[in-house]
């Protein structure tokens, strides 16, 4: 077993660190304050390769592993969590198109999704269907060469500013469950699509989140990804990687929070001595670093399992997402505490790190749902034995 990163991985990390330093770091606070979605910078991220990280090379992507992607997102998020999180969603949605779109569909959309000329959203959640995603009600009715979509999607990241929607909709009967769902590539400007207001959120402010409603939206049948009835499976496959990506954003945030905390403790004096000289605070720092390290290796090993095609990869991705997003939030919150009043004001980035990482415990499956997924596997044969 060798835990060291290869030279290539180090080079990827360095490139991501350079990119985020040049493009994200100085703007993150402003984008947050102004709720500005930096489409221009995201395009540059596309030019630099950050929008097609694990799309196979034969489809024009970089063909990197999930482990590589985790390393890259961890670096990028140290400049701007919210914008990096959007990049991860774009990567996930575009990857689904690359994997399950027809050749014609790929040719039509992928090159521009890879370059960042077009942006994508992932549409699963509905007003009445969140954790119980398989109960979704948006329907897609086949009419000749087309499907007609009706219904609405809630909390869609990027919506209103993106060009391509990857939509999960019901093609089976009302009680068809997970097996009655199909996935479609829907052009975002199709007739019959309306966008709600940009939700006023706690964090993730550099990207819009909107309700998307579909009123008899016609989509060519050729825009279906995979077969009819496969949609839920594809959506979950997308999320296996998506969860690692979101977890990686939490790791990056925690790393930044830890770095800031160390510097602050060494610079700030109270009671005539450096804060760093108080053992209570040293212990806090030690715990933050310990938890972060545990979370980081959990994410990396889950990514490795996904790369290996491990049959228990989904459960490991869920464990890693649960743990790393909890730890990420806690470490940022502790870091805020270590900064005292300065942690609470916007002149310092701590409060933004806390606000941005909070939602990672909620989306791409809440951390309760992560436990549901893990427990389901634990109660099935063999999973517990395979943990050792």
């Amino acid at each position: 077993m060798d835990f060291s990163l290869s030279d290539d991985q180090k080079a990827l990390q360095q490139a991501a660190a350079d990119f985020t330093r040049a493009e994200f770091a100085e703007n993150a606070a402003r984008w947050d304050a102004e709720s500005y979605f930096p489409v221009d910078v995201i395009k540059r991220a596309g030019e630099a390769g950050f929008l097609s990280i694990y799309i196979p090379e034969e489809h024009g992507g970089l063909g990197l592993s999930r482990l590589d992607a985790a390393l890259i997102f961890e670096q990028l998020s140290q400049g701007c969590i919210s914008t990096t999180a959007y990049l991860t969603i774009h990567n996930m949605a575009s990857w689904m198109i690359a994997m399950w779109g027809s050749e014609a569909l790929r040719e039509q959309w992928l090159p521009r999704l890879i370059s960042g000329e077009l942006l994508a959203s992932y549409c699963l959640t509905e007003p009445g269907s969140g954790s119980d995603a398989a109960s979704l009600r948006t329907k897609a009715v086949r009419q000749g060469d087309e499907y007609v979509l009706s219904g609405s999607k809630m909390f869609i990241s990027g919506a209103g500013e993106t060009d391509v929607l990857v939509v999960m909709a019901r093609t089976g009967g009302p009680d068809s469950g997970a097996g009655g769902i199909s996935t479609f590539l829907v052009p975002a400007d199709s007739a019959g699509i309306e966008y709600g207001k940009n939700e006023d959120k706690m964090g993730w402010k550099s990207q819009p989140t909107r309700l998307v409603s579909f009123d008899e939206v016609s989509v060519p049948a050729a825009n279906r990804l995979g077969e009819e009835g496969e949609g839920f499976k594809l959506a979950m496959k997308g999320l296996d990687g998506g969860r690692l990506n979101i977890a990686s954003c939490s790791l990056g945030a925690a790393q930044q929070a830890l770095t800031l905390s160390r510097d602050y403790l060494m610079g700030r004096k109270q009671f005539g001595r450096e804060l760093a000289s108080f053992q209570a605070l040293q212990f806090k720092l030690a715990d933050m670093a310990t938890e972060l390290t545990a979370a980081r290796w959990m994410v990396r090993q889950a990514a490795w399992r996904l790369d290996q095609g491990d049959p228990e990869a989904t459960a490991h991705c869920a464990m890693a997402k649960r743990f790393a997003t909890d730890v990420g939030f806690q470490v940022c919150n502790e870091a805020l505490q270590l900064h005292g009043g300065y942690g609470y004001i916007k002149e310092y980035p701590l409060e933004r790190l806390v606000r941005d990482t909070r939602v990672h415990q909620i989306l791409e499956g809440t951390n309760e749902i992560m436990r549901v997924i893990v427990a389901r596997r634990l109660l099935a044969d063999g999973m517990i034995e395979s943990l050792q």
């Binding site: 990827l12 990119f19 390769g49 990197l64």
Partner: protein, 254 residues
């Protein structure tokens, strides 16, 4: 036209410098290393000259330990065509002085016969600012240091130099040596696809012994200290008080 660019592996400019407890040197354990920023500017200028069709080949060279190949890979990802690594042993690499580097580069210049050699004006670790000048002396080539603009016109080179109080433009005949200043250009960052491609570009390794250059140091480093910590300022009540303090406390005027 062939361009040779020299790059150096140094401590990352974002890293807080720590001095070893025994003051023997800067502590490099676990410290992030990167390409010297002035070298990044040198690579960028060479790549731009290639993109404009002025140069046909860009060769990056570094003198340093095995790990310095990381910086060569970066140069390749940024657009250099091939790289040369002059491998110095780990024990001595930090102590390879400017003159030894210049002598090694001289050998590479003799071998490669570039029309233009671009170096950073200095490396941010030791701040010596002399390798380019030494290389010019050793090779007998004209030099344009502290460049803020470089123009190639036929077999002539026009270099705008940043000098105290203004700019100076010099004309050099090629081949020539240029060292870069901060305002020459704004370097790009490497793109992921280019990093992947860089893996396939040629990287040759040589040793100082093969080049017949002695790199042992003739300077002994006695002591490294952190700069004195800044003290908090005070407010003075009047101009008279200020003048008094400048005279008697700070002793900067008399």
């Amino acid at each position: 036209m062939k361009i040779l660019v020299a790059v150096k592996r140094v401590i990352d400019y974002n890293v807080k410098i720590r001095v070893k407890p025994d003051n023997s040197d800067v502590d490099l354990t676990n410290v992030k290393m990167a390409m010297n920023p002035f070298c990044e500017i040198a690579v960028e200028e060479a790549v731009r000259l290639k993109e404009r069709g002025v140069a046909s080949e860009v060769v990056a060279v570094t003198v340093g330990p095995k790990a310095a190949q990381e910086q060569l890979r970066t140069a390749l990802a940024l657009g250099a065509d091939r790289a040369i690594h002059i491998n110095t042993s780990a024990e001595t690499d930090e102590k390879v002085e400017s003159l030894a580097v210049a002598k090694l580069l001289q050998k590479v210049v003799e071998e490669e016969q570039p029309q233009l050699v671009i170096l950073g004006k200095q490396a941010i670790d030791t701040d010596n600012n002399q390798t380019g000048q030494m290389l010019a002396a050793l090779t007998g080539l004209p030099q344009g240091t502290f460049a803020s603009e470089v123009k190639v016109e036929g077999d002539k080179l026009q270099v705008t130099r940043e000098i105290d109080g203004g700019l100076q433009t010099v004309a050099l005949s090629l081949p020539a040596i240029v060292t870069t200043d901060l305002r020459l250009n704004e370097p790009r960052y490497a793109k992921l696809p280019d990093i992947m491609k860089a893996k396939k570009k040629p990287l040759a390794t040589q040793t100082p012994a093969e080049l017949g250059v002695e790199v042992a140091s003739k300077v002994t480093l006695l002591k490294v200290e952190s700069p004195a910590e800044r003290q908090g300022g005070i407010k003075v009540g009047s101009v008279d008080e200020l003048v008094e303090k400048l005279k008697n406390e700070a002793k900067v005027i008399s």
